[in-house]
Amino acid sequence: MKRALAFLLLATTVVAACGGNVAASPTPSATASATATAKPIQVGLVTDVGGLNDKSFNQAANTGRLNAEKDFGLKTSVIESKKQEDYVPNLTTFAQQNYDLVIAVGFLMQNAAWKVAKQFPNVKFAIIDGAPANDAGNTENLPNVANLFFKEQEAGYLVGVIAATMAKNMVGKATHNTVCSMGGIPIPPVDHYIAGYQDAIKTISPTTTILNGYSNDFVDQQKGKEVGLNHISKGCDILFQVAGGSGLGYIAAAKEKGVYAIGVDVDQIDVAPGTVITSAMKRVDKAVYDTSNAVKSGSFKAGDNFFSATNDGIAFGKLDPVVPADAKAAADKALADIKSGAIKPKTDLTVK
């Protein structure tokens, strides 16, 4: 009896709650659209499961959002996705609130962004590192989605110049004339970095031995460390990681064995001072900043948008004191040459 009563209570409460809300819902959306013309440009950012403090591209994207808010007088918000299944509702939340631009951080959201962008043709979307992908997994450009890509090979080339110069001249602990790299999973953005890196080394120091490996993971540090220790045992003394969290294990191996490492995506010099000598950076913050500005100024462009040396979308990070002046000068020159088009870094791996 008591149980039946409780069930009844629950049922009535739920029904009442639903009924009340169905009736109430049109009002807020109506007011929202009425004020839509007067309000400032709204930009919503949805992180992937890495979260805001991932010391990588989610964090960089958020920096770009905050800078854009400050510089362009926008109204911006962020939602951290806790689970992959949150991608669709989180993107939908911003779209339903008539945001002008909704940014999905990371290629993991390609399918979610495709789903939501199709439902909201009047809202602009941007995907960092990705393009809308339909349920079959095929890329399908949409008229309201900007695909923000980076020329990772250019950033890889810049740090490759530094690594090659140091290996060739046997600077500091780099005594074996052998440099290595490790990717997470062999997907295009990862291999582009490594291809540029290898291209620079082959060009500047053809005698240097190059090794490459994969941790097959973007999270597990232990797997990255195993690959790193293996590389070091083969004589590597400069290790370039392109493997997210797993790559931190690769850097840890370098630190443990007293050799050098190169960070990726963001400036990772602080991850292991004295071990990390520089970083291959893609300026996700700049992509978010520029795309927000483009929406405000009406120059938003759907489809592929490339961030490269030309528009300061890629760079190399802060340098450790061990990096000699000639290596820095060579990297600066390479950056200028890439900008002018004199150097076009490869996108295919030299050493698999």
Binding site: N21, I79, Q84, A133
Partner: protein
Amino acid sequence: MASEPQATPTGPATAPSVRQPTAQWARGPAVPVASVVFALAIGAIFVLLSGHDPIAAYIDLFRGAFGSPYDITETLIQTIPLVLAGLAVAVAFRTGLFNIGAESQLLIGAVAAGAVGARFADLPGFVLFPMVLAAGIGAGAGWAAIAGYLKAARGVNEVITTIMQNYIVVFVMHWLLQNGPMTAPNALGTPASAPIGAGAVLPIIIPNELVPLTRLHAGIFLAIAAVVVFWFLLWRTPLGYELRAVGLGARAAAQAGIDPRTRIVIAMAIAGGFAGLAGMIQVTGVFHRVFDGFSSGYGFDAIAVALLGKNSPIGIALAALLFGAFARGGSIMQANAGVSAQLVSVIEAVVLFVIAAELIVRVLTARRRERKPLEAIA
């Protein structure tokens, strides 16, 4: 809503629990409700410390979870796996077992459902769906029964085995889905399986004209059915009586002719079946495929859900709804009020802390009560 049922059931609190185990769940909605209120108060302090208005944050939290029909359906989508995984933990609790493996049981159910759904994708729905359903439930049940068997036959602590099973499934999934036998060649940028056949997909139950874009799927009916099955099984069948008897005292049950060992295996299998169903529903209702990193801890949240719900059917449903609302509302709160969604984790942790503290007190007082009559006999 929460305060109303609180008044009536506290009445029989003084009744001896052993003779009236049915009433046990009803004894104390006071503690769970108080723990939630307390946790919200602690959460408010953190909101204040972070420089925001707690009232506004909680209004946004509530609005995010229930503010529109779309929000309600999203909250329910979050609630469904929590209910089922909560039942998986509760069945074991009722039998005196601590099932920390709901996570792996859910995952293996999802893998099995995804594998069958993709392998036989061309079959018509009336054949394929029962197959996928059986695969999900069966895989979860079989997997959990291993832990039950080890406990029954070898006396291996189920806490240890179920935790270890979690790792096994996570790494097997890495293998299956990252360049393994289940990996789809074109997998949306993330290691994933091929999509399941259309016949296995749970339909969206609310028409798009009523609630645009809603994803609420028929899995909610399966979840409700599971709650009813849980109640009926435990309180209306001889098996349920035996399970609860083993849970209240395995030695006493053995004296009464109930072999605890077989009941332990059966209880774990049932628990795994509920969790496997949760995984199967996530595959057929939400994702339509399996991918690596599929669940982010439903099996662990489920422990909190079962404890907060006092292992009772309605309690679990309500606790799961609360946690589902937190999950959904937290995102919106972050978007609108600027308060980090991590606040929700703080609140959940405090709830769990209070419940656990109460549990410790109860176990200690129960021990003392048990000892007294024994001493009296001696």
